[in-house]
Symmetry: C2
Subunit: 269 residues, 2 copies
């Protein structure tokens, strides 16, 4: 890696450092390789460790680096494309929906916020299925799927809560309930959805599910599911922003490959 001193430039040191490190990553390192440690790097470039860390923070936010306490700083693998369009992976609960794994299920009265999102009354019973998504052996997302009981009421009852059972069987029971809700949702026949995507940060519990520290940047996907022309459920999916590229494929001509922004937009000659 180049060891040249930073030249005097009008831009901040940490930003220049980022550029230098980015080039080094692209040209001299490969995925999974460990960089020199922070104390060495800061000494090499003649900056304080905090300044170097500011540059590494940027590169980590861009998904180019992964830092592991006790291990070192590694060059990250390219982001994995994760299909989010339900048309391809199947609606929640459908047999084609293989990418999600149900974790548990809770049932409670709707909070004011949740009631507004679902278009129901506050306190109305809502089932919440918690799922995690695995792609290429990695946990990439968690999801909370909120299904009003009134949605499921549109179907003949199957079985929701078996009741009883020992404390040790509680987890398996919750799994059962999750599957039951999903099964009934499938039977109802979801026929449309609309989504929004925004940047967020993972809080304690969610961060733990994603195996990341709190404050990890995430892509928050909010989805509305329609059935029989009416809002049937809403889901909040939280994807790791460092490792995921969300894809919304309808036509799917070829693999979507990101293109770097055009460096200059000068007038055509």
């Amino acid at each position: 890696m180049a060891t040249a001193q930073l030249t005097a430039v009008p831009e901040p040191k940490y930003w220049h450092l980022r550029t230098v490190l980015l080039r080094a990553i692209d040209t001299e390192f490969s995925t999974g390789q460990v960089l020199p440690n922070e104390r060495d790097l800061s000494a090499r470039f003649g900056v304080a460790r905090a300044t170097l860390r500011q540059a590494l923070d940027q590169l980590e936010l861009e998904g180019r680096l992964v830092r592991r306490r006790g291990i070192g700083t590694l060059v990250a693998a390219p982001r994995v494309g994760v299909p989010v369009s339900r048309r391809e992976e199947g609606w929640p609960g459908s047999s084609r929906d293989q990418s999600w794994r149900a974790v548990d299920c809770t049932s409670a009265g709707a909070s004011e916020q949740l009631a507004r999102a679902l278009g129901i009354a506050v306190g109305e019973l809502v089932h919440t299925v918690r799922r995690i998504r695995v792609a290429q052996g990695q946990i990439v997302a968690t999801e909370s799927l909120h299904v009003p009981d009134s949605t499921l009421k549109l179907l003949p009852a199957i079985r929701l809560s078996a009741g009883g059972g020992t404390a040790g069987a509680a987890q398996a029971e919750s799994d059962d309930q999750a599957r039951s809700v999903l099964r009934r949702l499938e039977r109802l026949g979801v026929d449309g959805d609309s989504r929004s995507v925004e940047l967020g940060v993972a809080e304690a519990e969610e961060a733990a599910l994603l195996e990341r520290p709190p404050g990890t940047p995430v892509l928050v996907v909010t989805t509305q599911y329609a059935a029989a022309g009416r809002l049937a459920a809403v889901g909040t999916s939280t994807y790791r922003a460092d490792t995921c590229r969300l894809t919304f494929g309808e036509t799917g001509l070829v693999e979507v490959t990101p293109v770097a922004a055009v460096p200059a937009a000068r007038t055509a000659s």
Copy 2:
């Protein structure tokens, strides 16, 4: 705002501080209001200024705060929902596509990366239209739309480059060219698209267009446009992550409202 000392907790000070500040923002401040300055706040909470700034960094990343040099730290307005689905806003160049404003247009041989994304040969002529998107009086995105000349060749030529003209007219000429490319693209009839969304950071020039400092987190949307069953163009749109919530509405049942993640996922009783 509460002035209580931080209690001894296993979590980092900056993270606890973020939680305290977040509650204060939600309960005691309103949009546009300025918080006490960083030196006051750090003294009030008994932490170093750098630690306080770490907490503010988080809240800024979440889009809850806006910091302006020389002014202060303000409570941010809620994110604006920006429709990204072309079915609603019209394909590029169509008369319904009112949200974008063409800035300029360049024509050059395809780089290796661009050629791969477009499925054409390296060096083949590609027209690049640069546009900016304005929503509610704010610049929210920039875009580079890459259209291979071979795509436009499918149409009878209209006029691409008038040539000549003084240097002062160069900008207007580039505008003309941008419009011409868009017009021809419209005539060709785009009939499908697929997209991907990922987190990125704005570099110098792009950051300037978005009126933000370099390193600003952005949502990078890569779009493929299909015409006549073949890849006709690709676009890279860069949205300000702090102010934007991207919406992909197909059915559009009701306004998509984000739902906070479920705080706990305990076993159902």
